[in-house]
Amino acid sequence: MDAIILQILNGLDKGGAYALIALGLTLIFGTLGVVNFAHGALFMLGAFCSVTFVRILTISERVRDESVTFFEAYKEIPYLEIWYGDAGKAIVAWAVPLSILLAVPVMLLVGFAMERGLIRFFYKRSHAEQILVTFGLAIVLQEIVKYFFGANPIPITAPPALAGSADIGALFGLPNISYPMWRIVYFLFSLAVIAVVFAFLQLTTFGMVVRAGMADRETVGLLGINIGRKFTIVFGIAAVVAGLAGVMYTPILAPNYHLGMEFLVLSFVVVVVGGMGSLVGAVFAGFLLGILQSFASMTEVKAIFPGIDQIIIYLVAVVILLVRPRGLMGRRGVMEA
């Protein structure tokens, strides 16, 4: 029982990341009809917003390290720590959540720039061409990040108050169930972002227009609504969602330049399983596949199906495509001849 609860929790935090990326992918596909292979790169850019913010906060003075006697060594002390002491240290410690403040405007701008500067020229082109150009863009973005930040993963730490593990079992009256606190925070954060996006689409006039545009773009245009501009904003919002997923993921996994590619393929599978163009499907499939992947890593399961942890997601995708080609919640006519 303990093991099952723990693997579900593990699947939920992984699923949170998959769901957030897949949500943005589906939003873009549903509104603009674009298959965006650069979406993983947006997740990676979000993670590097966090890295950049941490680096800004830790701009340091280089001072001689007298404790090293073999050679002339130097150590770096952040100016924030020099100027503000413990308060400065606390700000540095909470850098990851604080970097959301940087990530939102940056990712919005990146989204607008991508859509206006490149993607809009490919609206009427085939999906194959869209995939090629967005995949190329993803490679360009990751090489830019590699140039500035190097190839190695950059460890980022969670705020000390949210590091370590929480006694989750106490909530269910079960002993011996503790789970990393930041991963729980990440799951809750992903739920909050998903809720905000759905609320935005369901409860605002803007959202209503976007949903109408997703259903029938031509008719909405005939009503005199500039749907193109609305969709540019949607692209920006999708970029922010992917970026925020990346920002908060940095304490879980040290970011590197190809982080986006690792998540992109999985997220596309999530979209296919959930159903192309279905927002609810993307979120549901994200969590479902996260949990399945987690269970597939259990020793008991691997003992029966060796290597299943590596292929489970793709196996599910194959089965879904065979049994229900439209995906679990896919709309009729989307990506169908």
Binding site: D13, S67, K75, A151, S165, I252, A254
Partner: protein, 454 residues
């Protein structure tokens, strides 16, 4: 009966034979290896330069080690060419090194990126041999890569001086005549670490292994399992994880509820940094109690670079190392100073082994008086030396494995400076980690191969 005086007596035949033999041998005795100089071999350097090929991971999970290895190679080349402070050229004993390059030729180098992938590593080594005319290949921070490149070098007749590779297979079942390893191996780690684990954590323990799923991980897991089970420990589970997995949470999640009270991470480089950080800082394992005992984490192969990456998570963690810059011997101090002045940080164990391998190759060439690989191999096989930081060391002829003291180390609880991250718990003597070469099988293969033919 007439005696035939024209017939050859036995004495005459012997005398004539001895005279002929001596006469034929004279050029070989006085002009060492004269015959091999005329032999054509792969990338025989003909100009004023000799090219070495340094094949290191510049990306992937072992990229940190790769970067430090490259720094060490550059420093070794400087020292061989008589630049800088000379480093361990001054301490190696016995030494044929002169500080004017190798056999009077200036040492230059080319580099390749193994990407910690066997196929990429073979491709870059092949490129360095075929296009850049490298006479020797060195480097690598992965046993999978080392085994693959070593095999290529055997086929091409180019000596491979392995960098950081810790699998038993490198000088065991996959050993090659053209491959040489200075670094220690998983078996030695097990032999060194086992007794210390018994002393520190007792003999009634249950271990859970997470193991990188490739040649090094398998042999590391086997070696440490053998050593701990010999102590009386039980192995609860041994789970294989993909190399470069990044997020190990799905593998860490079941550990605390498995009944195990020790987690053994058979991971290295970026994988180890990720899995250890996740185990300690996210899953908080070091603060847990299981079976009435403090939960412990062991990392059988440890390095300062990984300690830097993992931060506070390494505190109190036991493991083994091939070398540490804080060792109290002259050569270690000389290398730490030389490397530190050049790069602002002390050398990692990966850097030390690569630096030493470059010097040992150059020394063997000088000793042999030729770049001809079979002669260089002879000079390296059975070479007993000191002054490279590890104490008296033997390059065993039977498997091309170096035998020397190795270290049991622990992540330091209260570091005195940014580089003082590990403390040496025990220097395990060479005799304790020496083994019969036949236990891992394998064949070295021929020394005389058709050069550049792969």
């Amino acid at each position: 009966m007439a005696i035939d005086t024209t017939a050859w007596s036995r004495r005459r035949i012997l005398k004539t034979g001895a005279a002929l033999g001596t006469g034929l041998a004279v050029p070989h005795v006085f002009v060492r290896n004269a015959w091999s100089q005329n032999n054509q071999f792969c990338n025989n350097p003909t100009g004023g330069n000799v090219v070495l090929g340094f094949n290191v991971p510049q990306s992937g999970p072992y990229a940190d080690e790769g970067a430090d290895e490259l720094r060490a190679f550059k420093l070794a080349v400087q020292h061989l060419n008589g630049e800088g402070d000379g480093g361990l050229m001054k301490t190696l004993k016995p030494s044929s090194l002169k500080g004017n390059g190798v056999l009077g030729k200036k040492v230059t180098f080319v580099t390749g990126d193994t990407q910690t992938k066997s196929d990429a590593a073979r491709a870059s080594a092949k490129r360095m041999i075929e296009a850049d005319k490298a006479i020797m290949i060195s480097g690598g921070s992965s046993s999978g890569v080392a085994v693959a490149v070593q095999s290529l070098c055997q086929d091409m007749g180019v000596i491979f001086m392995a960098g950081l590779t810790h699998s038993n297979d490198t000088t065991g079942k996959d050993k090659r005549r053209y491959g040489f390893r200075h670094f220690f191996n998983a078996y030695m780690s097990g032999q060194a670490l086992g007794p210390v684990l018994g002393e520190e954590y007792g003999k009634d323990r249950k271990a859970y292994h997470l193991t990188a799923d490739y040649t090094w991980g398998w042999t590391q897991e086997e070696s440490i399992k053998n050593a701990t089970e010999a102590l009386g420990w039980q192995t609860v589970q041994a789970v294989r994880t993909p190399l470069g997995a990044g997020d190990f949470s799905q593998y860490l999640t079941p550990v605390l509820n498995s009944g195990a009270d020790v987690l053994i991470l058979n991971h290295y480089g970026g994988d180890m940094v990720n899995s250890l950080r996740q185990a300690v800082t996210q899953f908080d394992m070091k603060s847990k109690q299981v079976n009435g005992k403090d939960f412990q984490i062991v990392v059988p192969l440890f390095s300062e670079l990984m300690a830097q990456g993992a931060g506070d998570a390494v505190k109190g963690i036991l493991g083994t190392a091939n070398w540490d810059w804080k060792l109290d011997n002259e050569a270690s101090k000389v290398l730490a100073k030389s490397f530190g002045e050049a790069y602002g940080s002390p050398p990692s164990q990966a850097a030390q082994t690569c630096y030493v391998q470059t010097l040992l190759y150059a020394n063997a060439v000088e000793t042999a008086g030729t770049f001809y690989p079979p002669e260089v191999i002879k000079a390296l096989e059975g070479f007993e030396f000191d002054g490279m930081g590890n104490g008296p060391t033997l390059y065993r002829a039977e498997d091309h494995q170096c035998f020397k003291d190795c270290l049991v180390v622990r992540g330091k609880e209260n570091p005195t400076n940014q580089f003082d991250l590990m403390e040496i718990v025990k220097v395990v003597p060479r005799d304790q980690v020496t083994y019969d070469p036949s236990i891992f099988g394998g064949e070295l293969g021929p020394a005389d191969v058709k050069g550049c033919a792969a």
